[in-house]
Amino acid sequence: MKKFDKFVVNALGRKVPTIVNGKEMVPFMGVGKHRPTGHKAAAPIVSAADFPADGNKTLPDLKAALVKAGLKDGMTISTHHHFRNGDVLAVQIFDIAKELGVKDLVWFPSASFPCQEPLIKYLEDGTIHHIEGSMNGALGRFASYGKMAGLGVLRSHGGRYQSVQDGEVHIDIAVIAAPTADAFGNATGDRGPAACGLLGFALADSQYADKVIVATDNLVPFPCIPWQIQGNNVDYVVVVDQVGIPEKIVSGTTEITRSPDRLFIAELTAQFCEEAGLIYDGFSFQAGAGGTSLSIGVYFAEILKEKGWKAAFARGGSNKYLVEMLEQGLTKFILDGQTFDLEGVRSMRENWNHVNTSPFTSYNYHGKGFFGSFVDIVILGATEVDINFNANVVTHSDGLLLHGIGGWQNTLFGKCTILPIPLFRDRIPVILDEVTTITGPGELIDVIVTERGIAINPKRTDLLEKVKGSNLPIKTIEELQAEAEAICGKPKKAKVDENEPIAVIKWVDGTIIDTVWRVEPN
């Protein structure tokens, strides 16, 4: 199997391989240009005759389930990040694989977190061949130095669903951590001692994987209601001592910022939205994790309160601030993609209008539409933006792969995408001639808000017109770049080895938008 081969230059001018881990790939062709045909993938046909008639699918432990699922060399194993940094199962799965002497596995997580750093030893000893999913922190650093046997493949949440649905990724065994489940395999995330919210990221896996294992520490009598995961898709159920650590779904990025500069950016963003007429009675917005985004939500709430308006829906990442808006009647619904704190979990359990969604409903580009495209205001972050508004969320300016994509690419399709970002971090300017890695094309990014001015994408003549004559500090992106460079100096580009990719970045349609290259340890 060739790790990579056949480089081409894609529609954004980026050099990308078209053979990745032995599979043929399509280079990015432009937004909406790649229209594959054919039929979706499917899980194998099974017969109820092969499953216990009494509905009891429990097995003694995770090892027994993995063995019975036929764990063997080269398989693709999926896990999910409902517990974010409180996941405990991923490491256990590969501990078992190591114990069984299984090699060359592909780990297909919906996202990785620092708690999974112990998996580096399995990447080193060959238990895991490569990761198809986000690689944060230590895992990203490991991959960046070219130490992973295979090529990493990073996808958005919607892209992950698309890749499974379209058959690009075939999951052999999916292990779903469920805070509550019954013996038939129905499972939910919103209750139980380890309640973490919703299990939407596991939906594709439950529908398309060959074998599905539900692990829980709270087995309840049938029926487990709500059944976010349907037992009819589940092969085995195992009871574990602890399925995850719910307190760790809260990370530093889910508290509003205390930084005066970030608060200033948040306030300026809200002011822009108000003056550009983006906020109205019945509008919708998405404000993701991150202190600045959360603060913007708080400012939106103040504006709604003052005007006596109500949002039609707020797209979460739910958290205590969104829940407060819901419970104060400032938004009719929270359409939740993942819960960022325990208040979000509580609200999902208690409020009928706090709705759990999945990457299928919100983000899947190969579906008959997705609601992410009709959100009015989308607030996102970025590590870098270039003067064509292309943005990067996965690598840093030193070339290191340190973050995943999350739902970032998918939400770019909202009606107005705004990136509130500091003009420079320490002395690293955020606006560059060219970003290290293009994660999202500039044509979908409408506004950059920094502490020293706002740049509107020249394609958005409507927005430029709306804020004309306002007191907002509107500048060109080149002016902002010049201002940052006058303060920080012009940064040198990262020294990367452009002959050795370490990962590829998929676009929402399964094409390759960019390549992450190997860097030398600093």
Partner: protein, 404 residues
């Protein structure tokens, strides 16, 4: 004097941002050994090494060991830290100066508004860079209470370089020096480097103001450029001498009161209501009015208490203060809002200014509004009110056109 052990200046550690720590040791041979650890090494490593060599060339240092632990410091910070540690090690008095922004060397208008002035700890450069985005009237680079005793030396270099390099927009560049006489040693670091106004802490006599002015006169390279003084009254004696201090020199543009030290000096507790300092504050505003200068109130210490701050400003304004210190940027907007003119005052001033414009256009010497004559001081106050209203965002600068 050569150092025998490595000396250090600056800050490092996991929580330190936009700063650096420089270790330096002169050696007899072996050339320059520069060890750079930087979170921005890929992007700026070459630039940092270029700067280090430029500084070493300047001090004619051929042989040395230099350790640079950099957390993303800008050049003005790196240069200040390098200079500080080299001068500490070598005893050199030579200044390594990066080119100053020309606009930073100009004086500020004497009678400008000084509603808000934001304190920035003098040895914490990451707070310096974006301080002006919050639009304070003044930025105080603080060499006194906000800097630990053993960091005062290195802080002087950071403050000097910030005064020269950072574009603070319309904000007045202020420095709080140390208490006199120690504060006189701070003056060479600021007088020829763009300071607009010097805060003289714990001031208790006109002699201290004279000492500051004498030193400024001695070292200033541009005798025409005025540097303003704002003595801070922080003791019972200072309060009793307020008028003497306020009228000590024509470059004293304001008195400020520092209530933490004042209450400590009096042996009393500072309260939210502030009754214990009512007399002192009245004395101060009285002295300022008598001397024709501005009276600036003490900081409001509880950053999270907006309501308390608003009440404090209302009361402060009612007894004659025209501004207040800030310890957090979020206080600035409220200070501008509540020290600035109120809506009715702006409307009245607009009418007076229009009447004044009409009279001027018609060549009339007398301004009248309806049947009432308007005296020149009233016109002057109305013009000032309009200026303040525009500068605080309460009135559009095009208000005359917009009304037409």
């Amino acid at each position: 004097m050569d150092s025998k052990e490595m000396l250090f200046c600056g800050n490092s550690g996991p929580k330190v941002r936009s700063d650096c720590r420089i270790g330096f040791l002169t050696t007899k041979e072996g050339g320059r050994k520069i060890d750079l650890k930087s979170k921005v090494k890929v992007m700026f490593g070459e630039e940092i090494l270029r700067l280090a060599n430029e500084v070493l060339d300047f001090y004619n240092i051929e042989h040395c060991e230099m350790q640079i632990e950099d957390s993303g410091a800008l050049n003005f910070v790196l240069a200040a830290r390098m200079e500080a540690v080299i001068r500490k090690a070598s005893g050199s008095e030579q200044e390594f100066l990066l080119p100053a922004l020309e606009k930073n060397l100009k004086e500020s208008p004497k009678d400008r508004f000084r509603f808000s002035r934001l304190y920035l700890p003098g040895n914490t450069p990451h707070l310096f860079i974006n301080a002006s985005i919050h639009n304070p009237d003044g930025l105080i680079l603080d060499l006194e209470d906000a800097v630990a005793y053993d960091k005062k030396y290195e802080a002087s270099f950071i403050v000097r370089n910030a005064l020269r390099i950072i574009d603070y927009g319309d904000a007045e560049r202020m420095v709080r020096i140390n208490q006199i006489p120690r504060g006189l040693d701070d003056l060479p670091f600021i007088v020829n480097h763009g300071v607009n106004l010097i805060l003289v802490p714990k001031c208790e006599s006109a002699d201290q103001i004279k000492a500051v002015n004498d030193k400024i006169a001695e070292i200033s390279e541009n005798k025409d450029r005025k540097i303003w003084l704002m003595p801070i009254i922080e003791s019972a004696l200072g309060v009793m001498k307020a008028y003497e201090i306020a009228s000590a020199a024509d470059n004293v543009v304001a008195l400020a009161i520092g209530l933490e030290d004042y209450t400590a000096d009096m042996g009393i507790q500072r309260t939210r209501e502030g009754k214990e300092s009512f007399f002192a504050r009245n004395m101060l505003t009285m002295a300022c009015k008598a001397a024709g200068i501005q009276a600036i109130d003490s900081v409001y210490s509880d950053v999270d208490d907006s309501e308390g701050l608003i009440n404090a400003i209302k009361e402060s304004k009612s007894i004659g203060f025209t501004g207040m210190g800030c310890i957090h940027p979020r206080q600035i907007r409220l200070i501008h809002e509540y020290y600035g003119p109120e809506e009715a005052e702006i409307e009245k001033s607009k009418k007076i200014v229009r009447a004044f414009d009409d009279a001027t256009a018609k060549g009339l010497g007398v301004v009248s509004l309806g049947s009432k004559m308007i005296d020149p001081p009233v016109v002057k106050r109305a013009l000032t009110t309009i200026d303040i209203a525009i500068s605080t965002g309460k009135l559009s600068s095009n208000w005359k056109e917009e009304a037409e």
